[in-house]
Amino acid sequence: MERRRSALRNKMYQQIILATFVLLGFLQVADAQCMVHQIPPRNFTLPCMLLNKTFLSPFSAEVVESWSGWRIEHGAPETKPPVLMNEESFLCCLWSDNNIDCSLYRASMQARKFIPSEISISASQEIDSNWNIECWIKGKLDLLVCTVQFLKLYLRADLKLNLLYAASELSLGDVSTSSLKGTVVAVQCDCSAYDRCECHLPSLGLNHTLIMWLKATVGGTPLWSPVASVKPIDIVKPEPPLNLHLDMTEEGQVKICWSHPEPMPYPLEYEVKISASSGQSSWQMVHVAEETSLAVDNTLLDSSHLVHVRCRNRHGPGFWSDWSSPYNLSWGAEVLYFPPKILTSVGSNVSFHCIYKNKSKTVVSKKIVWWLNLAEEIPESQYTLVNDRVSKVTLFNLKATKPRGSFFYNTLYCCHQNRECHHRYAELYVVDVNINITCETDGYLTQMTCTWSANPTTVLLGSSLQLRYYRSTIYCSDVPSTSPKSEVKECRLQKNHSYECTFQPIFLLSGYTMWIEFKHSLGTLESSPTCVVPADVVKLLPPSSVKAEITRNVGLLNVSWTNPIFANDDLTFQIRYAVNREEITWELYEVSNAPTRSAVIQVQKLCVEYVVQVRCRELTGAGYWSNWSGSAHTLVKDVKAPLQGPEFWRIIIEDPARRQKNVTLLWKPLMQNRSLCSVSRYVIKHQTSGNTTWSEYVDNGTTCSFPWTEHTHAVTVLAMNSMGVSSINFNLTLSQQMSTVSAVESLRAYLVNSTCVLLIWTLSPQIYTITSFVIEWKHLNKEEELKWVRVPPNISQYYIYDHFVLVEKYQFSLCPVFAGGVGKATTTDHFTKGDLQDLYVVYEIAACKGGYENENNTSLSVVLPIVISTSVLLLGALLVSHQRMKKLFWEDVPNPKNCSWAQGVNFQKRMDIL
């Protein structure tokens, strides 16, 4: 029995010890923990503690105050910005289903661990002292809002409410009270509303842990709430969906569409409420959708229905957003296009669908017609009846949209066949993306520049163009195609609205496949890809060291050059050359292959300076012509000896005192085309009848004088340059005997105008052969040089072009030149007056006026009009004289028909009165 008692006692002690340990353990755990209320995405209730009575906590040596009643005071607090608290203090509570124990925790106390837990309803049975709270993150994610509603309205008076909070990147299980040290911020809540306060916290990280509690002051008495925590992302209340509208699928199914709100921190789910509008039965349908559209029955469009949409976090906690603004299906369904807008490229085919409702009655699809830009009815052959409500039109081989005013699109109208259209339309954007990309590799083979330009009239507002490319290892593919592995190449806009993109360094033998990407909010278009191998589009450097000269003796333009660096030996060249003057007129010469790097060109003028340039290109035609090289200039130098000596004449001045004649030779400077190219001096060769010969030289000037002492004196003038003397020369023999021989019978001078005089002469019978004539003329009233010209022996007239004045006196002489010497000159010093009836002279004068001497050319053009006009005049005069003669010789006989007595008498009928 004793043993049994002892065992029972031992067992009881053990239980007491165990209970003591359990209690101690509980006390230790309770001592190290604060329970934290998890804020849900809905409204919830928190108790508030009035610290008007202190007592010792059973598990803490600190002062603990329990909550009880209130004092009523009045006053409205103002919202103030957050303030960092110097000293943190909050209620550290432990609660169970039927009790809640709190102690005031201060920063100086030992750290305690936060334990997440919901406050059970039974723990806050004291409903008069509860706060009804709702916290959410606003849709813009920049503000946390908490509303605090008082269940005891008398507490409302003189209330000041602060919300204190601290944020941590750690989860609640890893946060302890020590983490709140120095991080607690207080915001004053706005309690201006009658039954609630509103507290605004600036947005913190959505995934941070927010620890918060409320502290109110009612008439100087503080009220506390237990600590609560939340992850802001769990209480986001999104903005309602936007932009509700009706749309149509390709199969003609109507769907309600909307846009998701921004920002959207996570995927959303949507709730769509379709309800009958007022005046009808108040039924409603609710659908849940994960996408931003929901197919609806087409029949709903026939009556008035309202659609609302709201959204919330698809996978986690969060608030539903407010309902969107209502959308009336009947409004949107008056006309529906699918798609409402199309962006496409030139040459493509597109289709539009349409549902058309006319005055709340859907138009059957076979009565729908389509119009383009309100101006052009689309042929019925392009329509397709998808079903009895939906009509489809297809447009083929589209042309680029031409901007019409500020409208950069074509409009498609779905109309009733009675020519009634709804004002809404579908938009068609057709962009010309046939953009040509041309590339050129520089002569150093280090960079390839590609240019492309887009028609500015077809580029839509808000669109962008960019060049994309990819490179093949070597060469191009047969059919270039776009690739997702392409890159964007940066291009520069040039002044001429083209774009220029430079690849450097390059892969010479790689194929660069390029295309232009046209990006717009309606979609992306691509031009046809093109592939370029840089080595195929080389623009070589121009040839260098270009030299040009006119070759001696041969008289050809010889051009030489050096091939450019990095160029092949198989090149073709173009040489352009021109006489170097102000206005250069180039002539082109092509050399297909020039291993000697030189070319010889036949040129007309040898004694001018030529400017020469050369360019080159691949012989096969690949690539581009190089730029023209720098200019080379030829030097003007003697090519050959002068072709002939100058024409010359003599002036003989007799010196009676000495009985001597002095001869002055005059010659005209040798032209370049004869001198080739210059004359350094003239050589005058003399030969007299005594077979004496000598030469003299004239370096400067074109005259030479010598005494004529012998009977005959033959003179030859030669031209000389660095290449030699002229081989063909004029001779003149001065003979005393021949100087008396006259050959001209008559000489007449006709003044045609101030610049032309016609000389006509006749010859007397000759025994000597005339080799040429020399015409001399001079102004008698002025001290002018004698002018002369050598003319052939077989003509009998000559036009002298000079400056003549009618009232002045001129002397004209005609000297025959015989083989044996110069004959006697015939002279006239007046102009013969031309007779108009002398048609020969008239036509000669006309020829002079025409400025040329060809008789045959002028005869028809001058004589014929004169003959015709004269004939017309004669005919006219003849007719006039005929009429006058008629009147003169024939008297007028009166017409008996005009007499009164003859009225009614038929004169045609014979009437015998006897």
């Binding site: 280090t446 093949s472 290892t473 060469y475 047969d478 450097q504 892969f507 092949n568």
Partner: protein, 221 residues
């Protein structure tokens, strides 16, 4: 070190003999085309696959003429030689310590890779000598556009050579050169880029000389 020798009379050249193989006369290889990222050195193993793909167009598409590829290869060789000559970075008559194979550094530990100098080497073997030089030049290329261009040309040349080797049915080299630049060589590049560039270009030109010699005659391995 092999003596310097200039080839091509200083004129790099492009000979475009048209054979009706495309609008520009360049051969078109549908299946052979590999998409390459611009200005990035590529793994030699990938290039090898690209060469193996060459048989596909040969079997079903338009054949690629060896003489055409040979002409392009010859022209690119000349162009590269001209470029190197114009870079004027060649004090190669001097013996440079610290870079020679078999001395302080080796190809494995980071010596500048050998260029040519072995006339009897086949086209395939010569092609295999180019990647290390190309990678080395690519390392030197940042800030030196002419070297970047030489590196690109070298890559093109290697592709052409391997194509030619495949077209001619020559044996492909069994061993691919190790990828990347050895660490020791990378240090040398950082320490003395000019010296490394000069020696690398000299060795590349040796290699080009050997290639040009092989290409002067009719198409052969």
């Amino acid at each position: 070190m092999a003596p310097l020798r200039y080839i091509g009379g200083g004129r790099g050249a492009w000979s475009h003999r048209r054979d009706g193989t495309g609008p520009t006369g360049r051969p078109r290889l549908s299946e052979w085309v590999q998409v390459s990222e611009p200005a990035r050195m590529r793994c030699p193993r990938v290039s090898l696959w690209g060469v193996l793909w060459l048989w596909l167009p040969l079997a079903g598409g338009r054949p690629l003429r060896p003489d055409k590829v040979q002409a392009d290869t010859r022209n690119l060789t000349r162009t590269l030689s001209t470029r190197i000559r114009h870079l004027q970075l060649l004090p190669v008559t001097l013996r440079i310590r610290g870079l020679e194979v078999g001395e302080e550094v080796t190809p494995q530990t980071g010596g500048v890779p050998e260029g040519g100098g072995v006339p009897e080497a086949g086209l395939g073997a010569l092609a295999q000598r180019l990647p290390p030089l190309q990678r080395l030049l690519g390392t030197l290329a940042p800030g030196h556009p002419p070297l970047a261009q030489v590196a690109n040309d070298t890559e093109n040349l290697r592709s052409l050579l391997l194509t030619l080797v495949t077209l001619l049915g020559c044996p492909l080299p069994a061993v691919s050169p190790p990828p990347g630049v050895p660490p020791r060589l990378a240090e040398l590049v950082a320490e003395a880029p000019h010296t490394v560039a000069a020696v690398a270009l000299a060795r590349l030109r040796d290699c080009l000389d050997a290639i040009a010699t092989r290409l002067d005659g009719p198409p052969a391995c």
